[in-house]
Symmetry: C4
Subunit: 210 residues, 4 copies
């Protein structure tokens, strides 16, 4: 029924976006639950106890940036995507499942950074990002192939540029994942670098696309 009218079809996308926005917003806000109140202690100064929690702050910052950037990109894709189908809903749901897991992997990283098992925690952490980035690409690939779910007037060159650009995500997080096994610090530094890189303004060509 929805497919019969353009306006109802827009509404369809609208609700997928609203649901996705909700999940992104909740997941990004739940990250704060990973910051713990130090238990009052007569022997330790609060400032020192807070300072000792730096792994939690670092993990919070990387994860907040990651989810925020994922949201910006999700948002950008849906300025192109005009229709939904069953596969899009399933792929979007899988992407969101990955996003909701981030508060867990963040807490895991914060708890184990600097302790035995930090390599496993960092691999789980970056591994989740690999999975999310893969689903992000699958979603875009499904929507964009033959303009299946895009507007007819969408610019082919722009679409190809986005497709190419998004392919880097899984590869870069795969490097983070592999690095975590060899050197946790290097893996996290790359994670931080990626967060900063993606937060920088896009290059002029990309600006035009937006």
């Amino acid at each position: 029924m929805v497919a019969e009218s353009g306006s109802a079809g827009d509404k369809e996308t609208g609700r997928v976006e609203a649901f996705s926005d909700g999940v992104f917003a909740i997941a990004i806000t739940l990250l704060v639950l990973d910051l713990k109140i130090p238990s009052a202690s007569p022997s330790a100064r609060l400032a020192d106890q807070l300072a000792k929690q730096w792994p939690a702050y670092l993990a919070f910052l990387i994860s907040f940036s990651f989810i925020g950037i994922m949201w910006i990109n999700h948002h950008r894709l849906f300025t192109y995507i005009r229709r939904t189908d069953h596969a899009l809903l399933i792929l979007n749901g899988s992407l969101l499942m990955g996003v909701t897991v981030v508060p867990f992997t963040t807490a895991l990283l914060a708890a184990y950074l600097g302790h035995p098992g930090q390599d496993v925690a960092a691999m789980v952490y970056s591994g989740t990002y690999v999975v999310i980035a893969v689903f992000f690409n699958l979603l875009w690939h499904h929507a964009a192939t033959g303009k299946r779910l895009l507007g007819r007037s969408a610019d082919m060159a722009e679409i190809a540029a986005l497709t190419k650009q998004y392919l880097f995500g899984p590869l870069l997080y795969l490097v983070c994942f592999g690095l975590a096994r060899l050197n946790v610090t290097a893996s996290l530094l790359l994670n931080v670098a990626l967060a900063i890189f993606f937060a920088l303004p896009p290059k002029p060509a990309a600006v035009r696309e937006r």
Copy 2:
């Protein structure tokens, strides 16, 4: 007052959908709180400790899929439902109450799977799904009977097909519920199979409906 104008009526449905989207999005995201960080231990490897938590991951996966699929179907119904009345709001509220309970029943299943009491936990788990599926049917039945809350142009054959299709939900979850008493593994396997089945693309006729 709202009933007097079509556009205000649409807005009425819009806010019910927005509220429902919010509850679905929060319930599905709260599931992550059921994934626990293993306490650091010198004798156990983190990878092993994480692997031992498989019941929590399994419960998370089934519940995420269930809520996601419920959302897709809720969303589909509201492409047909154009007006609200008091009974719809109450039935929708009852449905949402069931959905918000899922993070609790998921945590219960994760905590007891493989321990004494797992049959009770699995019955509570599937029992909640039975209740949700029943309210889903009551909601649709209330809205669709005599096209009470649907648009006038809604296709009778499509409506009848949806009505028939949704009746399977309560029956299938009732089987899960009964199986849980006899064999918890079989009950969960059926739950997984249902999640996969509902995530598969609908059959061609259903595709046309959407």
Copy 3:
């Protein structure tokens, strides 16, 4: 600036409603965090342990119904309210503050029901409802007096009927509050009765209003 154009004014109300919907949806979903997983115990059967938690289920049911009904009524008011001003935002914020406190008072009631201190817990519980109902009336009074924030075409008789109807809320919850001091069971029974009463279909006159 917003006040200059009708369409921008509608958007203003829209965002207040969206924010309120978010708070209502989150508060109602957080109630599930008050349902606790019984700790595995070899000597007690899980079914018995779950059954012993009836105060938590009762408190959950009453609170879910209360927040749900508050949402329905908030929603109804905003089909009349067309504009916002500073006082409306502050009154709405105060109402929402009361709503966000409900998961706390619910957990308090669930923890103390059947134990010493249950009268205090029940008074805090019903007292919160009194405060919420008072802010609800203040909000409506502010918006409706002289049709300050309503559409010009709003029916005076309907407005007067709503004003009269909503006055009962604070009074009834004040009775719950007082009863809690004398007899906790009676207070909770009245709370349950109120939840059922408000969930029943409105009387014909009210049906027409909606």
Copy 4:
């Protein structure tokens, strides 16, 4: 692509607002998790135990007011802001990161008020408000300079008045921050005074602007 058409540009802002509303709504509702249920104790009366938690209630009230007022102001800015760009998304994300941290700093203040370390807790608390207020100003400055992201018809005098008005935020919270080092009580009193001050109706000129 979005920049090409006015309507798509509005939709762009709409989704930023929806995401921001979600984060504000969740952060303000998560504050309730900082209110703890006193453990049942035969020797202490519940009323006394609840009364002893006044720092938690005070911190809850200030934080709820702060986030609520931030939301009102965010909302007000976006009645002027019509377009988005990459920098706006990053600045808005940074602002939201500050907002999501508030439930943590609130819990920290509630836990340490009246105990050693309360000065550090109060500095972290007010320091977060300084950071949020700074990002708020950066966001507005970016959007308003040369009307970069505003509508063409926006009134220059109104914009200048808002710019001037918002500059007080960081300064006032910087005073709270400094006071926390000298005298925690004075710092919190100023925090309460600011919450009340911002909740008062704006002065006539500001009323016209809205």
